[in-house]
């Protein structure tokens, strides 16, 4: 723990998430601009010290949500709460937030040092030192200690981004808001910086809300992710859950590649055979007929679309491309290779299976006609009708 932050970092382990109090809460927030609704009855709570990410395609309302939290916009309906208190009508300067924008918004007529010091004209530096010490401390934190007197426009994009971080953190905000802070940078730098941002966040233990359209970035840095669509979150969960157990078809296809299939349930069986593969023991298996092929899908949940599935239901499920295996005999599908994209560590193979496109990850891409299959436990149900 350095003097940089004013809060204890959360204790290690995932359990702590549940223990930490709510720092920022949105309760039924709606934001309309004339006819269009940018944010629609959104309720979220972000825990203290959490790295929380809003991810979604452009126009999903994620940036508006961030602006509502920062106080640049006021909700049309609903309420934003900080530490349980409504901040309706509280101007941004009184919300104790630090904001980093996509374009960094460094003040062009001030030096790097003056930029970082600006927020200290309105509050005393946390930790009790002088303004100058605080500026130096923050610039060292982002590894720009020697750039104090430079003009912002003489810095590279990545350096500017770090100055913007230092500036936002200098007054010791309660919440750090990051609006696509990486999207103007090239891919390699983006990957390096997101690790840095995460490290700084961990070091300070500061509640951070991060907006990005890049689902890979969201998975890589966050404690929890909210996948947004049309102004509402489709799913709010830790990255692994988002990836492995997407709540909806939209989440399944927006986050990573996925194969989505749907068909009618013809039978639901219980598998309590001990000798069967351990994955399936104690689970229900649904036989789903997709066109004329019957596939086995494990039902591993007792809530959501997987609960109480019965024959005659229409089930939509997904299987990750990396879970399709060549030559497997369970749920075998005979498909034709249409194209292949070489991605480096793997190849993304496009298959045609009875007029549907399937994706497969393979190290050595096959050609011609292939048989792929998947373990019923690797199928995840996203919808039931």
């Amino acid at each position: 723990m350095t003097t940089l932050g004013s809060k204890e970092p959360p204790p290690d382990g995932a359990d702590s998430d549940h223990a930490a109090p709510t720092a920022v809460e949105l309760a039924g927030v709606t934001r309309r601009y004339g006819e269009t609704t940018a944010v629609d009855d959104l309720s979220l709570s972000v825990r203290e010290g959490e790295f929380f990410t809003l991810v979604g395609p452009s126009g999903c309302g994620k940036t508006t949500t961030l602006r509502l939290i920062a106080g640049f916009e006021e909700p049309t309906q609903g309420e934003v709460r900080f530490n349980g208190e409504s901040v309706t009508g509280v101007p941004p300067e009184d919300r104790d937030v630090g904001v980093v924008f996509q374009n960094y918004a460094l003040f062009p007529h001030m030096t790097v040092g003056e930029n970082v010091a600006y927020g200290l004209s309105f509050t005393d530096p946390p930790g009790g030192g002088s303004d100058e010490e605080r500026v130096r401390e923050l610039l060292e934190l982002v590894a720009l200690g020697d750039m104090m007197d430079r003009d912002p426009d003489t810095l590279s994009g990545g350096q500017q981004q770090r100055v913007a971080m230092a500036r936002a953190l200098a007054p010791g905000p309660d919440v750090l808001l990051l609006d696509e802070p990486m999207s103007a940078l090239d891919a390699k730098l983006r990957e390096r910086l997101r690790v840095q941002v995460r490290e700084i966040q961990q070091e300070l233990g500061i509640t951070t809300i991060y907006v990005t359209h890049d689902q890979e970035e969201a998975l890589a840095v966050s404690d929890r992710v909210a996948v947004m669509r049309d102004g509402t979150p489709e799913q709010v969960a830790p990255p692994r859950t988002i990836y492995r157990e997407p709540a909806t078809e939209f989440v399944a296809t927006f986050v990573g590649d996925n194969n989505v299939l749907s068909g009618e349930v013809t039978a639901v069986r219980s598998t309590d055979r001990v000798d069967d593969s351990s994955d399936e023991s104690g689970r229900s298996i649904a036989d789903v007929t997709v066109d004329s092929t019957t596939l086995s899908v494990a039902l591993d949940g007792d809530s959501g679309p997987e609960a109480a599935v019965s024959a005659g239901d229409r089930l939509t499920f997904c299987v990750r491309p990396e879970r399709l295996t060549l030559g497997a005999d369970r749920n075998a599908l005979t498909a034709t290779v249409t194209s292949a994209e070489f991605l480096g560590e793997t190849t993304r193979v496009h298959l045609d299976w009875e007029g549907r496109e399937l994706l497969l990850r393979a190290e050595d891409p096959p050609t011609g006609t292939v048989t792929v299959g998947f373990d019923p436990a690797d199928a995840h149900t996203v919808d039931r009708q």
Binding site: S6, K7, A70, G71, F72, F82, N83, E85, S86, V87, G89, V90, P91, P92, E93, D94, R95, D96, V97, G98, V99, F101, Q102, N103, A105, F107, P108, H109, Y118, G119, S121, F122, T123, D124, P125, P126, G128, A164, R167, A168, A170, P171, P173, D174, L177
Partner: protein
């Protein structure tokens, strides 16, 4: 870390309300208290400035102009439309159509309109000279636009910048220049005499007025048309050519349609400006070529306030109607296509001696001679005349300006007083116009309900003639207001400062607003997230980023004040508050020498302003 938000929302600093933080940070209580007071002030600053500006605007513009309105409908304590009716029914004002309003048969009126000895009336004549001036300005402006947009030559940029100069040149100074050129002893007659030709006297003719108006407005036409021409995308023309269009067809079908709206804008503005022309007609036409504005002035001089007010309002109605019609058209027809690649410029020296290369350049050469006579001759003649006396070159005229005159009656114009007054009023009105203009610029570039209304309210002074403002200030403030039994009257000097501020601040708005508009809103939002109240963000971030535009706006306002004539002459009559333009008007008939010397002083001051404007914000000016 609970923050006391209700405290913050009340406008009291939130930083001090947090005991936990106060113990954490080692700040002294006095520093905290100082910050609280400062923050409270900063929070309310924008609203405070906005209220002050609007109150000032009400006091020095809307209230006075309203009194003019009331003057025209409240005669001897009774509400009446009589004054308007009598103007509209009088053929002296409205010409032959006025007879329709007194019930004469339509046929007879049309008959007399078609007859050669028809009467135009003052209003008809004003429209007629405005139409002629518009045609002359477009005719003189378009070749300049062609030259500036399509040819490359040394000094092109300078020439392009010079098109903004007329905005700051005092019209009475232009009047002096024209007298020095076309007067009986002017340069034109000197040249004609040297060539052994007869004398001409263009003064007090319609021609002189129209040429002077063209001097003023052709650069405006050239400026807006050049901008449109430069934004034509070369690839659009090339596409037309590749589809089989000849160069002429490509021009007619692709380039010209993109120029029409700008030409029309230049023409519309020229018509409105020249419709309410005053100093030029006063200097070059006299009362025998009186336009509406000159007539309003004459009525004021004769103390016929009700009739003056009614006539001024009719003129204002016509001007605003024209502007409105134009703006409606513009909203429908403006196509803003920023050309990624502008049309290439040709060298001015012909690359080959073919007819196609020589003909346009020959045309431009002829144009250059005409332009020299219209634009350069008046200025050169004025400078020359200011330096000449009966015995050749002399500085006597300038010496006359600085001599404190001990002779002469008190009502005579004291030249040095005029110079001093002009500078004093310039600085004082700048001190009012600059903050006003910046506040209005801030108010009109932010998003809130009612912004359009504020915009219209703040920009209205641009449309109201100086005569009306002057008359309003005279009737409303100088003659005094009855407030709670006591009479509050404002001195003539203060009223002139107010009038100049009203005339100048829209120019500050027009230079500063585009700059503010261009600032990335995330800069302000970053400052606010860092704890800056809105007013602090304005002072710390926005104003430093637009300061060149603020300086340019200040130069504009100063130049406008130095050259202001219409309102000043109304307010200065019978007082000793003469400014340089007023002195020039007094001297123009009798002593051309001092008039030209004073004209040169005005030229120097306004040109210096122009240089500042051009260096710091020329391209951003929203005209």
């Amino acid at each position: 870390m609970a923050r006391d938000f209700s405290d913050g929302a009340d406008g009291v600093d939130s930083g001090s309300g947090d005991s936990e933080e106060s113990t954490e940070t080692a700040s002294s209580p006095s520093r905290e208290r100082g910050r609280t007071v400062r923050n409270t002030v900063e929070r309310r600053a924008i609203v405070g400035f906005a209220v002050a500006t609007i109150a000032l605007l009400l006091g020095i513009f809307y209230y006075p102009v309203a009194t003019v309105f009331i003057d025209s409908v409240l005669v001897d304590g009774r509400w009446t439309g009589r004054v308007f009716a009598s103007i509209l029914r009088d053929p002296f004002y409205l010409g032959e159509p006025a007879r329709l309003l007194v019930g004469e048969p339509v046929g007879a009126v049309i008959e007399s309109i078609r007859s050669p000895d028809r009467r135009l009336g003052v209003i008809g004549f004003t429209a007629y000279q405005a139409a002629l001036s518009t045609v002359a300005s477009v005719a003189l402006g378009l070749p300049a636009a062609y030259l500036l947009a399509r040819y490359e030559f040394p000094g092109r940029r300078t020439l392009r910048s010079l098109t903004i100069l007329p905005f700051v040149l005092p019209s009475i100074m232009v009047g002096v220049g024209f007298v020095a050129t076309f007067g009986r002893n002017g340069t034109l007659n000197a040249v004609l005499g040297a060539l052994g030709l007869g004398q001409v006297n263009l003064l007090f003719t319609l021609e002189a007025v129209v040429i002077a108006h063209a001097f003023y407005n052709a650069p405006l036409v050239a400026r807006v048309t050049t901008a449109a021409w430069e934004s034509v995308d070369a690839s659009a023309v090339e596409t037309a050519r590749s589809l089989g269009a000849s160069p002429f067809r490509a021009f007619r079908d692709v380039v010209a349609p993109q120029l029409y709206p700008s030409v029309l804008m230049g023409a519309a503005l020229t018509f409105v400006f020249t419709f309410s022309t005053f100093p030029i007609v006063l200097a070059l036409g006299g009362f025998q070529l009186a336009t509406v504005e000159v007539f309003v002035y004459r009525l004021i001089r004769d103390l016929e306030y009700a009739e003056a007010a009614a006539l001024a309002l009719i003129e204002l109605g016509i001007s605003l109607g024209l502007l409105y019609a134009y703006l409606r058209y513009e909203a429908k027809h403006t196509v803003r296509s920023r050309g990624i690649r502008p049309l290439p410029r040709r060298p001015l020296t012909p690359p080959s001696f073919s007819v196609r290369e020589l003909l346009p350049r020959l045309g431009l050469t002829v144009y250059a001679v005409v332009a020299l006579a219209v634009f350069v001759a008046p200025i050169a003649s004025m400078i020359l005349a200011s330096l000449s006396g009966p015995e050749g070159l002399t500085l006597a005229n300038y010496r006359f300006l600085v001599d404190r005159q001990t002779t002469g009656a008190s009502f005579q114009v004291q030249p040095w007083d005029a110079v001093r007054n002009s500078l004093l009023f310039g600085v004082a009105s700048l001190a009012v116009a600059l903050p006003m203009g910046v506040v209005v610029a801030v108010l009109t570039t932010r998003d809130y309900r009612g912004r359009k209304l504020i915009d219209a309210v703040a920009m209205a002074p641009l449309a109201v003639s100086g005569i009306v403002v002057g008359l309003g200030l005279l009737r409303g403030l100088v003659f005094g207001v009855e407030v709670g039994g006591s009479r509050i009257a404002v001195g003539g000097g203060l009223a002139i400062i107010a009038a100049h501020a009203v005339a100048g601040y829209p120019f500050v708005v027009r230079t500063v607003a585009p700059g503010l508009e261009g600032i990335d809103h995330t800069l302000v939002e970053s400052a606010r997230a860092l704890g800056a109240p809105r007013a602090r963000a304005l002072v710390d971030i926005e104003l430093p980023l637009v300061w060149p535009a603020v300086i340019a706006g200040a130069a504009f306002a100063f130049a406008i004040s130095i050259g202001e004539f219409s309102a000043t002459i109304v307010l200065a009559s019978g007082t000793n508050q003469f400014t340089m333009p007023i002195a020039i008007e007094r001297f123009i008939g009798r002593r051309l020498g001092p008039a030209t010397a004073m004209g040169v002083v005005l030229l120097v001051v306004t040109s210096a302003s122009f240089l500042l404007i051009d260096r710091l914000g020329g391209d951003d000016v929203g005209f």
